[in-house]
Point group: C2
């Protein structure tokens, strides 16, 4: 973006005309009249998905019946390979399994077991609560493991040779702050700990170079920027050289080397397959498989550039308009920010409800955060303009003080 | 069935005319010319499912976007309540979550923790291997727990006050043998152990009266006789009076009492909800929700009667025809049998392949078992006749010795 001038509609439309990713919006179905800035919670529907679901249901399941397992069986790795490209991993390093929290239990328990004699899982107080619950669950199951939860600024201080695993989320779900994945991974390695990353708010929006940065293990959800649909299965990354030694702590028949031998004794499949436990969720996996085709022909560099362009435009427009009562909760520097912007407002819940009633879908996180997610594959610069316009009205007219927007309960 | 006479096509058609469940077949889509006897592996497609999937994808996800979580959030319990009726459980005692093996890890670990001082999980050598792997995984995670695996006939002998949990599968996946759930549950209780049942091959085909028999915990898959689709989510049953004390060992944000408070500390939701971990798989849950409507208006007694009628007809027809080389691996008494019949044949793999090539879909389990599943909602008596006819041809002409049916690999 070039500085100077007013960020009016015409200028935003010009940005869209010059946007090399703009044509990808056509790959999604978006409701008329809605500016959707909540793709960081649930990604929009890729146009290809309903037909794929129908094909899986009617042709593969309905007509093919049990014989379709021939093609379904390897979907966890096939879809994993599609995600691998988006997070800088290699083929055979990513598998699609379970839900994010279950996948995290698996890789975290495997990591702690791989560092015998070390008793600490180090994480951040700002981590997504489900990750903290998973870590606590793992610690209790393994016994003699402590989850040490510190402020982000204290991580380096506390990181020492008692730490088995450093567990962090790459992009803070509240503020959108981007942790320095390369530096913190190196810091973990410098004390002999494994680096375990939650990529829920990164995959498909932020550059994650697992290979180059040395990430050991990672998980992420596929229903945010990967647009896999509500409750789409999670992905797990296990660095290739660790696959031979790390063990899935929740073994099941479809991670067995020879599942159809029905051995009473477990023997893990080689490679990433060993992290599969039970029968894969074929409907969810197939929807995700189809959804990932929306990334065809795009590089993560182009996607990240679009994302930064959107969040920078949002912030520049807000700075221009100086709306009262709003404070930036996200880092101002794009290099330190994911694909969302969070604003604090003392009546944040009502502000978000008023925006939704005006067709701008954002979300709220207690106590006072209004979150705006800019999914780079389908949000336009003109959508940013529209969101800022509506936000100015809601704040300027104090519409948010209207009774109908007052706090009920936050469900999204 | 009345004895006497030959089980010819006309007599089988007459059974279908008198079958009070016959009309339910119309609720399924079955390929022309196929006799599908593998619903014990993957249930057939209920006619209502493709439209429901399309509605969930296009209306709920595509148009409703993140706001649809209002209706999705309680699906795990809502669909659980539909299953509860089929397994003799009450409302609020069943939840649909994860995969079967992960669900089993949860309830089994919870059970063992609820019996401090006891160190044994007792199970059967004939149990489904994934259940054995799950038990071993749980034992290793909890530490100081032994998985004792015995022959079914030795269970009573070995059951003592060291046993925390008796883990059994109600219907043997190989032979179709029905364990005496009421008696074994009482036996477990008599030594103070909890009874944990795998209902994968029971739910929707066999009467399971969880309430009356005192079952403590159970899991099952929903893609066999419940027809939820490939990799449909599992269900877990937790007896009401245990819900306040048993803890989900894999806690996650959607089992939290107030998930949208995003507390750093886990506090379980009351009731069965606490066994939810992460974001529910909405596509799979919705397909299952719709699939379960195929049970509308039917009692489990009617369904079981139909199931017994089909397996008895199959056995009576085989006894009449005396096909060489086949031995019954299932109990002859229907009261001791689930909804499948297994036959041993030294060339069982080839026999099954030859049958499949003739449109009769059965499956094979090493080393020599041909499994025939009789899904009571859509298999007709005339299908049984057709299967026996084809089996007689395959065996009588030794067609199964043809090269094209020889062993490759068993994938289903």
């Amino acid at each position: 973006m070039t500085p100077g001038g007013v960020w009016d509609r015409a200028r935003c439309e010009a940005l869209d005309r010059d946007d090399p990713v703009a044509h990808v919006r056509e790959r999604f179905v978006l409701p008329e009249g809605i500016v959707y800035l909540d793709g960081n919670s649930l990604g929009a529907l890729p146009r290809s998905v309903p037909a794929r679901l129908d094909e899986v249901a009617t042709k593969e399941w309905g007509a093919g019946l049990v014989g379709s397992w021939e093609q379904w069986m390897s979907l966890p790795e096939q879809v994993g390979d599609k995600i691998a490209r988006l997070i800088g991993a290699g083929k055979g390093e990513v598998v699609v399994i379970d839900s994010t929290t279950i996948a995290l239990v698996k890789v975290l328990a495997a990591a702690v077991r791989a560092r015998p004699g070390r008793h600490v899982v180090l994480t951040s107080v700002t981590n997504f609560p489900s990750d903290l619950y998973a870590a606590t669950g793992v610690a209790r199951l393994l016994g003699d493991v402590e989850v040490r939860t510190v402020e982000p600024a204290d991580i380096d201080k506390v990181l020492d040779e008692t730490v088995a695993a450093l567990l962090l989320t790459h992009v803070d779900f509240r503020t959108g702050e981007l942790f320095d994945l390369a530096r913190l991974t190196a810091a973990a390695h410098s004390v002999g700990a494994l680096a375990v990353w939650d990529l829920c708010h990164s995959a498909g929006a932020v550059i994650v170079d697992c290979e180059r940065t040395g990430v050991d293990l990672a998980v992420g959800c596929s229903y945010k920027y990967l647009n896999g649909g509500p409750g789409a299965p999670a992905f797990a990354y296990v660095r290739r050289h660790l696959q031979a030694t790390l063990e899935n702590p929740l073994p099941g028949w479809l991670g067995h080397a020879a599942p159809f031998d029905f051995d009473a004794t477990y023997s893990a499949a080689t490679g990433i397959r060993g992290f599969v436990t039970s029968t894969p969720a074929i409907l969810g996996l197939s929807a995700l498989d189809s959804a990932l085709d929306a990334f065809d022909g795009l590089t993560m560099e182009e996607i990240r550039q679009k994302s930064v362009s959107l969040t920078e435009l949002f912030l520049a427009s807000l700075e221009e308009r100086q709306l009262p009562g709003l404070q930036l909760a996200s880092p101002r520097q794009p290099a330190q920010r994911g694909s969302q912007v969070a604003l604090r407002h003392s009546d944040g819940y009502a502000v978000v409800q008023a925006l939704i009633s005006r067709g701008v879908v954002a979300d709220f996180r207690a106590p006072d955060l209004c979150r705006f997610g800019f999914s780079p594959l389908y949000v336009r610069h003109v959508d940013v303009f529209e969101a800022v316009e509506q936000l100015e009205t809601v704040i300027g007219t104090k519409e948010y003080t209207d009774d109908r927007f007052s706090r009920r309960r936050a469900v999204t």
